[in-house]
């Protein structure tokens, strides 16, 4: 017996059966299939690509892909010490402090019919970076570029207005020295985002599903060193712990790990995997807003510097995976300080507070990014400062809020900002570390509002000083000035944990950043 609930001739049973079949069909709906066979490298990136234009790139995830699909004049060497090697260039040579000659490899072809890479393209690409119309965020990488002289089809000379020390450290081996054809850029309307008008590197983009996966495939027209893998699958996974689990589940061949996982993986890497710890260039510090009324007296700021037990802070936050730092500039770079000026001294902190008339203590806030290690660090700071009578209220913020706290353009929170634990990353030139703390950066990225003309002048001089020893002295002095201001407590450079399958041999920069096109099969 069938009870009809409608007069339309469709029973509910039939309707539900149809819905179920439609549901299963939708769930298993066709998408795409990966070609069978071939060698595939599966890597995790901490974010999806956002902008592959060398003039407007936004971060490392872009850089990882750009290194694969474009040819720059030079690239960083893989290994444990910072150095570079020519890439699109057959040779590069500094003729004098303001002239750099280069010769390109012949036969580097652009995709999409844009022909062969020439010195004219290099001239266009480098001069485009400083063209005000380009509005490049990376204009400072070529701050001293005057023009590029083209000698012949493959040769040219980079002419600088004055000597520029970062050129060899953080300009020529980076994405700022990528060479693109003028016709392609113009055809794209002067700039592009995630869809390059052409490519020229060892790989090319096969497919991209935003926020899902980017597939690179070997460029058949690439004539220089052939890459090992047929395809590279780049998966954007923001959460490091998820990436670690994905690796342990066999879904990835390479990933960065969280700093807190470093001790565990050092002791016991997953089966079939290798783990390395690389020193990071990043720097973490606690800043003190010197313009906040409570901290206008330098003795109060110095008291905080002496009260914080940096070793305990770093130990609590990174569980033994990272060392305390001596300043902004990491070991291995010119200007690294072997020792800081301030040591943990509670008695001295109390004495300074007494001299400032604050022996009964006071209350202040400590702003942090809501990450586990920052919270742990903040809690130790809170305990340290409680010892000298300062009550600290920890204020965790999500990244969207945090990164606007000290910006004068983003509201008024910079006025009430007091203590802050912050972290910046950098390229392997000391000027990258000091650039953010000049007087011009007050209210932009200089949130401590550290105001030293001497520091600003030294930063400018450091950019043009080519003598490594003299340059190192300048940067040591700059970090001394920062610490003497009472505005900074330098905490750590962190560390980078790299987990990879023993079936591959990764090519890594000294700071652990991957050079994907140079990864090899074991």
């Amino acid at each position: 017996m069938t009870i009809k609930f409608t007069d339309r001739g469709i029973t509910r049973r039939r309707l539900l059966q149809g819905a179920a079949i439609a549901g299963i069909a939708a769930a298993a709906g066709p998408k795409y299939s990966l070609a069978a066979g071939g060698s595939v490298l599966r890597v995790r990136s901490y974010a999806d690509i956002q902008n592959l234009d060398p003039a407007h790139r936004t971060g490392q995830p872009d850089g990882d892909v750009m290194n694969c699909i474009f040819a720059s004049l030079a690239v960083y060497k893989a290994g444990d010490t910072w150095s570079w090697q020519p890439f699109a260039a057959k040779s590069i040579k500094q003729l004098d402090p303001t002239h750099v000659a280069f010769e390109l490899h012949p036969g580097i072809m652009y995709s999409d019919g844009f022909g062969e890479m020439t010195a004219d393209d290099a001239k266009f690409s480098f001069e485009r970076m400083i063209d005000p119309k380009t509005k490049s965020e990376y204009v400072d990488d070529w701050a001293q570029l005057d023009h590029v002289e083209v000698k012949d089809k493959y040769s040219g000379v980079i002419v600088l207005k004055q000597a520029f020390a970062p050129l060899w450290n953080s300009t020529l081996p980076t994405d700022s020295a990528i060479i693109l054809p003028q016709k392609a850029i113009e055809a794209a309307g002067g700039k592009f985002d995630t869809k390059p008008p052409c490519t020229s590197g060892p790989y090319r983009i096969k497919s991209w599903e935003p926020k899902t996966k980017l597939v690179l495939e070997r460029n058949p027209d690439w004539k220089l060193t052939k890459p090992d893998f047929d395809e590279i699958h780049v998966m954007p996974i923001e959460d490091e712990k998820t990436a670690e689990l994905g690796f342990e589940g066999g879904e990835l061949d390479y990933t960065w790990t969280s700093v807190s996982s470093i001790p565990r993986y050092l002791k016991n890497p997953p089966a079939g995997a290798k783990f390395v710890r690389k020193p990071s260039l990043a720097y973490v510090w606690m800043g003190i807003n010197q313009d906040f009324p409570q901290f206008k007296d330098i003795r109060v700021r110095q008291a905080i510097q002496y009260a914080v037990d940096r070793k305990a802070v770093v130990e609590a936050a990174y569980l033994g995976a990272a060392e305390t730092s001596t300043g902004l500039i990491a070991p291995g770079l010119p200007g690294h300080r072997t020792k800081g000026l301030i040591s943990h001294d509670v008695a001295k902190a109390k004495k300074l507070l007494k001299e400032a008339g604050l022996e009964n203590g006071f209350t202040c806030t400590l702003a942090i990014l809501n990450k586990a290690e920052r919270l742990a660090a903040a809690q130790v700071v809170q305990a340290n400062l409680a010892e000298v009578g300062i009550t600290v209220q920890i204020e965790p913020h999500d990244s969207g809020t945090f990164w606007s706290l000290g910006s004068e353009k983003a509201g008024s929170s910079w006025k009430t900002l007091q203590l802050i634990i912050d972290r910046f990353s950098m390229e392997p030139d000391p000027s990258w570390a000091t650039a953010w703390f000049t007087p011009e950066q007050i209210g932009v990225w200089n949130w401590e509002r550290f105001n030293s003309k001497e520091f600003g002048d030294l930063h400018k001089k450091g950019l043009t000083e080519l003598d490594p020893a003299k340059r190192a002295t300048m940067y040591v002095k700059m970090q001394n000035l920062m610490e003497e201001s009472g505005d900074y407590v330098f905490l750590t450079h962190e560390a980078t944990g790299v987990l990879y399958s023993n079936k591959i041999v990764p090519a890594l920069r000294p700071d652990g950043i991957p050079l994907l096109s140079r990864f090899k099969k074991a």
Binding site: G29, T212, M235, G246, K409, A410
Partner: protein
């Protein structure tokens, strides 16, 4: 019936419009500068200011809302401030992943919840009923992200039975990747549906037509599945319609834990980075989807249940 459908549709549009206005106000008051995020730390203040102007962020809030409504009506949800991709394209690209996830979760909840509810109702007070009651309450009480993490640790990392991350490459692989995340979301609903259906069946079993069927000597199984369940399942359909919203929010956790692409993770990342076009676009689409599903559920019930239909006709 048509009047009812038109009224419900009007209400649905009003809800979507109101939600967008609320979201705009919320993102307006929270601190954070999307222009600074988009351009990165090396951008000069002048460049940031220029982008803010281009994005219309320097305009008063009411004007921003009106402009957004205008662009929605013209079928444009704006561009991602980071990649400059069309927001609609991004959402449409990711929506199928989330729909599959929710469909999978609903499948778990229906395939397990309905039989458990029926069997419990057929033997109320039995050991099976009691065990089902305890398990149902337990899985209802455990948040989806806890189930997701333990499922991942046990079945992916420990036993290597299922993949840990991603969404798969081909249809079968996608189904394989769907098992754990959909189970994590759907498990709570298994318990919920089982308990609700049990109560509903016991309620319907006392009605006259069921008593008549018993008097005719029909088997208990036939009575439950052919006469009781057809009526008792209607409230479950309503709840499943509302449950879509709950599943969408649970999908955020499942997509993060299993590193799956989807609109849940998309909106989470967008909020963190103050990617306002993505936030407003995604909220608009998910709200419209949620309202649409509930509208369909209501119309479906009105169509299926003669009592509702007759009440509307009156």
């Amino acid at each position: 019936m048509l009047t009812y459908a038109v009224k419900r549709l009007g209400l649905a549009l009003a809800v979507v419009g109101a939600v967008i206005a609320v979201v705009f106000v919320m993102i307006y008051v929270i601190p954070g500068d999307p222009a600074a995020v988009a351009l990165g730390p090396r951008a000069s203040p002048a460049l940031v200011a220029e982008l803010r102007q281009r994005m219309g962020l320097d305009r008063p809030l009411p004007i921003q809302i009106v402009r957004f409504y205008g662009s929605v009506l013209s079928g444009h949800l704006g561009n991602d401030i980071l990649s400059n991709e069309s927001v609609l394209t991004i959402i449409l690209g990711l929506m199928p992943h989330t729909l599959r996830l929710i469909l999978g979760a609903m499948s778990w909840s229906i395939l397990l919840g309905i039989p458990l509810g029926c069997l419990s109702a057929m033997r109320p007070g039995s050991i099976f009923d009691r065990i089902t009651a305890v398990l149902s309450v337990s899985v209802i009480a455990v948040p989806a992200f806890v189930i997701a993490i333990y499922a991942l640790l046990i079945f992916s990392i420990g036993l290597h039975w299922f993949p840990a991350i991603g969404a798969g490459e081909d249809p079968m692989d996608e189904l394989y990747h769907l098992v754990l995340p959909s189970l994590a979301i759907g498990l709570g609903w298994v318990g919920y549906i089982a308990r609700m259906l049990r109560a509903s069946i016991l309620d319907v079993q006392g009605e006259n037509h069921v008593r008549t069927a018993r008097a005719f000597g029909l088997s208990e199984r036939k009575i439950v599945f052919d006469y009781v369940l057809r009526i008792a399942i209607l409230p479950t359909l309503t709840v499943l319609g509302i449950g879509i919203g709950q599943m969408l929010s649970s999908a955020v956790f499942a997509e993060i834990v299993f590193a799956r692409p989807g609109i849940g993770k998309l909106v989470y990342d967008a909020i963190i980075t103050r990617n306002y076009p993505i936030v407003t676009g995604t909220v608009l689409v998910t709200t419209a989807f949620f309202v649409l599903v509930n509208l369909i559920a209501d119309l479906f019930i009105a169509w299926l249940d003669p009592r509702v239909r007759y009440s509307l006709q009156r």
